[in-house]
Subunit: 118 residues, 2 copies
Amino acid sequence: MHAAIDLAAKLATFKEAWQPRTVSLFNGHDVMVARLRGEYHWHVHPESDDFFLVLAGALEIDLEDGAMVTLAPGQLYVVPRGVRHRPRAIGEAHILLIEPTGTPNSGDPATAAPRRVI
Amino acid sequence: MHAAIDLAAKLATFKEAWQPRTVSLFNGHDVMVARLRGEYHWHVHPESDDFFLVLAGALEIDLEDGAMVTLAPGQLYVVPRGVRHRPRAIGEAHILLIEPTGTPNSGDPATAAPRRVI
């Protein structure tokens, strides 16, 4: 409470890839940090845009229409709701991710990472 | 469309302080960058949390209970809705700001900066 949230310090508390940690709440959303390594699977969030801001490393996001967005540190992209996408880290990428609280990161509650607040 | 949004490049397109520019949309919110210099006035957003992530420089946020949050690059703070606050840049600060589309940055439509999408 009433304290700055240092994103690098939060990222230093865990090592697992594709397992976002919630660091703050914002208007019904979880503000999360995550480490990404390798390629995730194609998925979609029908009800929510998907906010990616790269903090370190590099990220590619394949989109269903064949486009690819490449993100370096300090660059963001919002995947519009309903658009299938596949994120892929080049090496290890650290990201800030914002999704409505309860959104499964995989697009499917059966395969989603558990919600972890740190 | 389908392109990374480079926050530093967006910030380089303008010089005015306390005049946020919208760089993306996300779930009914404007994702904005802003340059901050000096002290803003006390204000409140009754209906929305206020998301601040410092990209460069340093920011202090006074809160109505007397607390002060100090933010360096890579640090964020969400001012809870209804909490009066006063941001103050130390030198010039560059921030990422997220607010519901239509939220007056000053808390009052009469004094708010106009919405500018870049």
